[in-house]
Symmetry: C2
Subunit: 229 residues, 2 copies
Amino acid sequence: MGKYNAKNEASDKFSLRGKVFHKIRDDILSGKYKDNEELKEVAIGEELGVSRTPVREAFRQLELEGLINIIPNKGAYVTGITVKDVKDIYMIRSLLEGLCAKWATENITPEQLEEMEENVYLAEFHATKGHTQQIAELDNRFHEILYEACNSKMLEKQLRDFHDYVLRVRKKTLSENNRGTASNKEHKYILEAIKSGDPLKAEAEANKHVMSAFENMVKNGLYEAYSTE
Amino acid sequence: MGKYNAKNEASDKFSLRGKVFHKIRDDILSGKYKDNEELKEVAIGEELGVSRTPVREAFRQLELEGLINIIPNKGAYVTGITVKDVKDIYMIRSLLEGLCAKWATENITPEQLEEMEENVYLAEFHATKGHTQQIAELDNRFHEILYEACNSKMLEKQLRDFHDYVLRVRKKTLSENNRGTASNKEHKYILEAIKSGDPLKAEAEANKHVMSAFENMVKNGLYEAYSTE
DNA sequence: CCACGTATAATTGTATACAATTATACGTGG
DNA sequence: CCACGTATAATTGTATACAATTATACGTGG
């Protein structure tokens, strides 16, 4: 599974289509394009120094992700991500991360468990030192391990997609307001529930973790700066 | 929202790319291609009488849906959908349909509520008559209404994708074993919870509905015939 | 006979050409 | 002046050409 994904990422990095896809995706999520703005194949192709072919292929992917809306023979229009979208994603993620933690309790391998323990331990250190970059990376990795450990291709894919979607928001939230310390404490609770073999406890802790991340975001009003609404 | 989607469907129907996408997707989901089978652009293009361009664009979409795995410069390989995948999707759907019903309770419009009542009433009639085709259509539509009524673009998209994914399995299940009658009764419970303005009741009923659909499927061993495992 | 390397074929990646469709400009009649 | 229709430009849709990469065939030396 990990290898499978690594390959896909390689594909994305080394082909023009993948580069174009990620570039436009980032630009939409970061708010470079306005809502309903029209994306033109030639213009974007020229900007990135490629022909229309890779741009078109990237458009098809973006359409499927729901980031743009393609009207046949007419054009591609940015759908963007609104404040409500981010909120909804956190609600959905809360449920699904819970399910993921529950399943992970029953399917995690010793290696994954060990990496998770190491992750939490190391994050504790960086949190006290205020190393925001490392904290963000460890946080991402904690969730990645959880996704892999649940042993469900379907759930893993869903959570990964959502995770990517709100990545920018999450990173910012973590770097402010001591959220990093609190977040890592919650990771520890999840880890302990998994270690003690209590799936329902793990589910509840993961639920709470996502919800508290969301509440922290709302409290700080941080997410408004990153939406197109 | 409804219109937005209608447009997308039109796009899919009238462009070659859309036709190719749906054809390959159906072929994978119905088991025409084996797991790990390689899909070649030229071969599929010739089969469908189109050039490589629409085929390639369809491939990119299928990759994003997780149905094929594209290795750069090498080829596209069918990932397929396994028994476990179907099971996992039902578990995920159970949670998300619950959330959807909860939100729908708070956001449903009078028009949607009326259509839902009509839907349940009509399905009752067709269930007693054993009209499997109509039952399947009304069942689909019931869930569509629910998805629209929750007023969340994100959740709606998720549920629609999953719904499509297991459509074939669902249709078959409904036509056997009087599941249609039982299913419609559960729809009625959801509807009544929504009408009485009880979001938690609606959530619980929707949870149960998906789980009982899944249990029915397992009991009859029906889903094994529709997977690639 | 087989291991290996090289030539050849097959396949994917990207750019471009042409067709079809849609948007825009512009002129004319009233 | 403006409503309308037609010509023109811009844009997307699809096919095809060429380049780059990978798979296969085949021959030769030992």
